[in-house]
């Protein structure tokens, strides 16, 4: 991996992780910009356009080469989401460098990136910044074992996917089959932990140029073939990659079956923030039986820890309580000393009794809630844990009274011995008697 790739990752990681200010208030603006390669092909996308418009989105369709393609007016972004279905585009319009997309994501906006085997280097860079490494140009995902019989043109590039993420925000937990795909193969970048696979190829799929004989190992094979992937930020925004623009077009939407249609539309609305957007407030805590929060506690104290987590409901356009029973909190100092399940209280508040470990130092109360399809929650608060104060130990324990007695007797014993040693004398009579008996014995 060269330094350029690394610097892009570093930048993205920085942007995704540095900002700790939570986005408050309303989410999910409805202004969507869709960029396609050729405006004359707009009819190809009429199915998804119609669906988005019925769902309440205002979609503006633009061509990459248009002069009117402006998404940033110098102060703020003019759209809330971008659907980039222009794999051959070489720019994002006037005044919008590639790094502009990072700012776009940082402000809570989302991007869907559609790719094709014929792509520009510019678009490849964007995909790479999402954590997806594209195969060589003009290489397709090929699958001789699992392809769509009607859509295929003989080279087995109209593949049927091997599986998809069945997270509940994306497909309501349903497992869909027959999701078709014709596009470029890709691999996840290994050192990007944040990118998650959404759709992948079957066991028999691989990525190669259909016209060539396979002589070198393909970039990816089997279920490692990434067809769609996503990075979610803590700003409640999503950067989604899909390796095929054809899967969004009418031809495939109409003939690939209901599951394909359902998945693509779910993917679209999920990208635009329909489900799984979480917001967590600061972690709060207090000692059992107390009200106020302190920065220092003692070992073996019992704490009550609370946190508020809300989920965005885009139909109602408001934050509602998030209900889940698998949120955990950890009490860590290098390693976790306690890991406790947070119990939902019904109003978005989660609560847990956390015992302070018998170990002092600087500790973190840490929530790392990474679930497929949900906004990652990763936050912590620090506190100091002190040992018992000298006057906090128990005194005059009943069980220890023999020891106290013994210590005092030893002290007295020293005194008595000192007096006896210094001032006592051997009794004369006894000494004589002893000497006498000794003489008797000797005889």
């Amino acid at each position: 991996m060269d330094w350029r790739k690394r610097s892009i990752f570093a930048l993205l990681l920085l942007i995704f992780w540095v900002g700790s200010v939570e986005v408050e208030g309303e989410l999910g603006g409805r202004r969507v910009l869709m960029i396609i390669d050729d405006l004359s092909n707009q009819e190809n996308y009429s199915t998804i356009l119609k669906y988005l418009q019925e769902d309440g989105f205002q979609v503006t369709v633009k061509e990459e080469t248009e002069d009117t393609l402006v998404m940033y007016d110098g102060v703020s972004f003019m759209y809330d989401s971008i659907i980039l279905l222009a794999p051959k585009a070489r720019s994002l319009g006037r005044g919008m460098p590639i790094e502009g997309l990072d700012d776009f994501l940082m402000q809570g906006n989302s991007i869907l990136l559609g790719m094709d085997p014929v792509y520009s280097d510019f678009m490849k860079k964007i995909a790479l910044s999402f954590g997806v490494e594209l195969d060589r140009k003009r290489s397709y995902v090929i699958d001789h074992g699992s392809f769509h019989k009607d859509l295929d043109k003989g080279d087995h590039t109209a593949v049927i996917s091997g599986g998809h993420s069945i997270s509940s925000p994306l497909t309501d937990g349903a497992e869909l089959s027959g999701i078709s795909f014709r596009g470029v193969g890709a691999a996840l970048v290994e050192d990007n932990e944040l990118v998650e696979k959404l759709l992948w190829g079957s066991e028999t799929s691989f990525s190669y140029k259909p016209s060539d004989d396979v002589v070198t190992p393909p970039l990816v094979t089997g279920t490692d073939c990434v067809l769609a992937a996503a990075v979610q930020t803590r700003k409640q925004s999503r950067a989604v990659y899909a390796g095929s623009i054809e899967m969004f077009q009418n031809e495939m939407m109409d003939s690939a079956g209901g599951d394909h249609r359902r998945f693509v539309l779910s993917l679209l609305t999920w990208t635009l923030g329909s489900k799984g957007l979480l917001r967590a407030d600061k972690i709060r805590w207090h000692r059992v039986g107390e009200e106020d929060q302190k920065a220092t506690y003692r070992v073996k104290d019992d704490l009550v820890v609370k946190v508020n987590i809300m989920e965005w409901y885009y139909k109602q356009q408001q934050w509602e309580p998030f209900a889940s029973d698998d949120v955990q909190i950890e009490f860590t100092s290098m390693d976790p000393y306690a890991r406790v399940r947070l119990v939902p209280q019904g109003n978005g508040s989660f609560e847990a009794d956390v015992p302070v470990p018998d170990h002092y130092g600087v500790f973190k109360l840490e929530i790392n809630h990474f679930r497929q399809g949900y906004t990652p929650i990763s936050m912590y608060e620090t506190m100091s844990i002190r040992p018992f104060w000298h006057n906090e130990y128990p005194r005059f324990i009943l069980r220890a009274y023999p020891y106290y007695l013994s210590a005092v007797l030893n002290l007295v014993g020293v005194f008595v011995f000192a007096v006896a040693y210094l001032y006592s004398k051997e009794p004369k009579a006894k000494a004589v008697k002893a000497a006498a008996s000794k003489t008797v014995k000797a005889e």
Binding site: Y393, R395, I397, R399, A400, P402, Y403, Y404, S406, A407, L409, N410, L411, G413, V414, F417, A418, A420, Y421, L422, S424, K425, E426, A434, A435, S437, K438, K441
Partner: protein, 109 residues
Amino acid sequence: MANLFSVAFEEYKSKIPWKLKVIDAYLVYILLTGIIQFAYCAIVGTFPLNSFLAAFCSSVGSFVLTVSLRMHTNPENKDEFPSHSSLKSFADWLFANLILQVAVLNFLG
């Protein structure tokens, strides 16, 4: 056998100076307190460990110091400790014992 012990006891009574006998009596007393404490700890457990350690170390320390005193003041060891008068040895013993007892009381808790 009984005869053997009585002979040894008579020898002790007649040959050992009075001061050493006083020391020996004290040593027996200290040894007994140490054994009793250890047995008590073995029965009730180590819970106030600091208290046990303090009291037990008080016995052990006193025992060691007193054995030193006995070696210094024994007339048979005169050649080995030519510079030790018996009074100086006793002052040493008293000083060391005071320090020991202060530490013990501190740790007794």
